[in-house]
């Protein structure tokens, strides 16, 4: 068993073995079977590699998305709690948005003039944290502090922690999109610096009525600098979105609310790139309409036993499941040592 090591401001210390994460004891205690996990545990290594943000060919994103997914699995297994399904399912969207030249930012000095991204579905923060770490905004080993005491990687994004790239606190569903509308208004109607504002909501989140207040405002103010991404995996905690409370027909709704709507396969890089290209064009030509990208995704994409299963909305993998998941994502984890 390794010991917990955190510096005073909650950043996990760099390991002498080059990025091997220390495993916090209390994360293990949350699991069902302590003794089983003792043997299933493995050293978690966050690869130090980061990626730059530039126009890429669609096939270049697969590697980045795989890295993001591995980092999600690692941070979640160390956290011992948190959401797996949504973050894995939206990793391809994040890869294209942050590493395809669509969002403009400086990872070395985040709070300089930049485009904005607001994760309205705050519970999906493991994918945001993993993405930001892969830009180089903060050290990758900090991903191992997810949901821990004093960590900048709060269970839902907290602006008070000052993590580069977290523009606002979110977690109470339906609010982030309105904040993003406010940001888009500030630039489009007042400052006119040509900033783009992106927000990502879940699909279950669309049951919150205030989302539609925000949508109404976005088109009312002709915010063509505003891009609303809907992660449409049709899963929420209680089941299928269409069973819990249908939000469909989604495309018609967004269109009726005044958006230029693009529906894409949220795992197809070519389609994602075209959708973001369309938004950039809308924005540059000042078409007077906000853009909505409905990304059809599979919850848990990339990990066979999680794919399209709503049960994976809000739980982390066990150590054994994490081992299998990482192997499926191309990282070889040795077999457990029998104790």
């Amino acid at each position: 068993m390794q010991e917990v090591t955190c510096s005073s401001y909650g950043v996990a210390s760099a390991s002498p073995r080059g990025g091997i994460e220390r495993t916090p004891i209390f994360a293990l205690c949350l699991h069902e079977s302590f003794s089983m996990l003792m043997s299933a545990e493995f050293p978690v290594v966050f690869e130090m590699r980061t990626f730059d943000n530039r126009r890429r060919q669609p096939d270049e994103f697969a590697e980045i998305a795989r890295m993001i997914r591995r980092d999600i699995i690692k941070s979640l297994v160390l956290a011992g709690s948190g959401h797996s399904g949504g973050p894995l399912g939206s990793a391809d969207i994040f890869a294209v948005l942050y590493f395809g030249g669509y969002m403009r930012y400086n990872p070395q000095d985040w709070w300089t003039p930049r485009d904005r991204f607001v994760l309205s579905a705050g519970h999906m923060c493991p994918v945001l944290y993993a993405t930001l770490a892969n830009t180089g905004a903060f050290p990758k080993e900090e991903l191992g502090t997810l949901r821990k005491y004093n960590s900048r990687l709060q269970g839902h994004p907290g602006r008070d922690m000052g993590l580069p790239g977290v523009e606002t606190s979110t977690g109470s569903l339906g609010q982030g999109i309105s904040i993003a509308v406010g940001m888009a208004m500030a630039d489009k109607l007042l400052d006119r610096n040509g900033y783009r504002v992106f927000t990502l909501t879940g699909d279950g989140e669309l049951q919150e009525g205030s989302v539609w207040e925000a949508a109404m405002a976005a088109s009312n103010f002709k915010l063509d600098n505003f891009c609303w991404i809907i992660d449409n995996n049709d899963c929420q905690i209680d089941g299928r979105v269409h069973d819990v409370m249908s939000i469909y027909p989604l495309e018609d709704k967004c269109r009726a609310f005044g958006f230029d709507v693009v529906t894409v396969d949220g795992h197809n890089y070519h389609e994602l790139c075209s959708a973001f290209d369309r938004f950039i064009t809308n924005s540059q030509q000042e078409c007077g309409k906000p853009t909505a990208i409905i990304a059809k995704t599979l919850m848990g994409k990339g990990v066979s036993f999680m794919e399209d299963r709503y049960e994976w909305h809000g739980k982390p993998p066990t150590w054994e499941q994490a081992r299998i998941a990482l192997r499926e994502l191309g990282e070889d984890i040795p077999e457990p040592v029998t104790v």
Partner: protein, 345 residues
């Protein structure tokens, strides 16, 4: 030392808010105002006419307006959003909690038509609970000015401070009595009249009623201290604890539920620092109703008479100790007090 006053007729506090916004608009280019479809009622219309480019109509969508304000603040603006207090303090409670206060952004909310004095609109529009909620929010500054001029000063001050803030104001014209030189400072309660027999601690429209009650009490030889708590949060502990220590008996008065509002705030600091008997004047755990403001203030026990009677009870409790089990909302009727000159009960 008492602060001199001069009754100059009556004016609504909302007018002070509207005029304060225009002053802010002149001083700061990044002050923007969001409308919630009742811009005339809450007098943001004055700003709208003067600075149409910095006024944005959000419609009847208070949750969205509050959160949009957070987004504007995160982009360097100083957004004000005003509506009826019922809808911009409680309907949007979660947005205030997460997007405004947890985010600790520079969002300013104007809660109009507060209290029972809204009048004919009735219970749905007479917010009597928002002080209780807002004063529990971390990072929040909560202002309740006592008249038109203080509302104007408070509005300007909240625009010039950094962080989330809420100002409560009313619809009806109420006595306008403070002067340009009457001190106002966020976080500081002001002693408007000195005395050491009982402290009358009030906010909003009840400050004038407390001054009237103090006049009547002085005719009976009782010198009451009147304190205007124009900032409920952060709370001026010192001024209130000094009053407890020097007077030994307290009456709180507010156009709000007697539970968890100004009275609750006073009770907390007094219990912690220097426990003395407190009587609470306010709405007694009930909803409002339609009527003319004066009729309603009378009906719901929000006049100088209740403060007067409560002062006598507080003094009696101080002098006699335990006088029986009483609920927070138990306030003696003025007529009963008068019927028995020797006892307040």
């Amino acid at each position: 030392m008492s602060i001199p006053f001069q009754l100059r007729g009556s004016k609504p506090t909302r007018q002070g808010f509207g005029e304060g916004l225009v002053v802010l608009g002149e001083r700061y280019d990044n002050v923007v105002v969001l409308g919630g479809d009742i811009t005339g009622s809450v007098m943001t219309s004055l700003f709208k006419e003067r600075f149409p480019d910095r006024f944005f109509s959000i419609g009847v969508a208070e949750q969205n307006a509050t959160t949009i304000a957070a987004g504007l603040a995160l982009s360097g603006k100083i957004p004000f959003f005003a509506s009826y207090g019922a809808f911009c303090a409680l309907r949007n409670a979660d947005q205030l909690r997460i997007s405004v206060c947890y985010n600790e952004v520079n969002v300013k909310i104007g809660g109009g038509h507060a209290g029972i004095s809204v009048g004919p609109d009735g219970a749905t529009h007479q917010v009597l609970e928002e002080i209780a909620y807002l004063r529990t929010l971390p990072h929040m500054t909560l202002l309740v000015p006592c008249d038109y001029l203080e509302a104007k000063k408070a509005t300007i001050a909240m625009g010039e401070m950094v962080g989330p803030a809420y100002i409560r104001f009313g619809r009806a014209a109420i006595p306008f009595f403070t002067r340009d030189d009457t001190p106002f400072q966020i976080g500081k309660a002001q002693v408007f009249r000195d005395g050491t027999d009982v402290a009358l601690i009030a906010c909003g429209a009840m400050v004038w009623e407390a001054l009237l009650a103090a006049d009547k009490l002085s005719q009976r030889g009782i010198q009451a201290r009147v304190i205007n708590v124009s900032t409920i949060k952060p709370f001026d502990v010192e001024t209130v604890v000094d009053a407890a220590r020097e007077c030994g008996a307290i009456v709180t008065a507010e156009e709000h539920q007697v539970h968890a509002g100004l009275g609750g705030a006073v009770a907390e600091v007094v219990a912690k620092n220097y426990p003395v008997p407190i009587e609470f004047v306010g709405v007694k755990d009930s909803f409002g109703g339609s009527g003319e403001p004066e009729e309603l203030m009378e009906k719901f026990g929000l006049t100088w008479k209740e403060i007067y009677a409560a002062a006598l009870v507080a003094i009696e409790r101080r002098d006699r100790g335990f006088i029986g089990y009483r609920m927070v909302k138990d306030v003696p009727r003025y007529d009963d007090v008068h019927a028995n000159a020797h006892s307040a009960l």
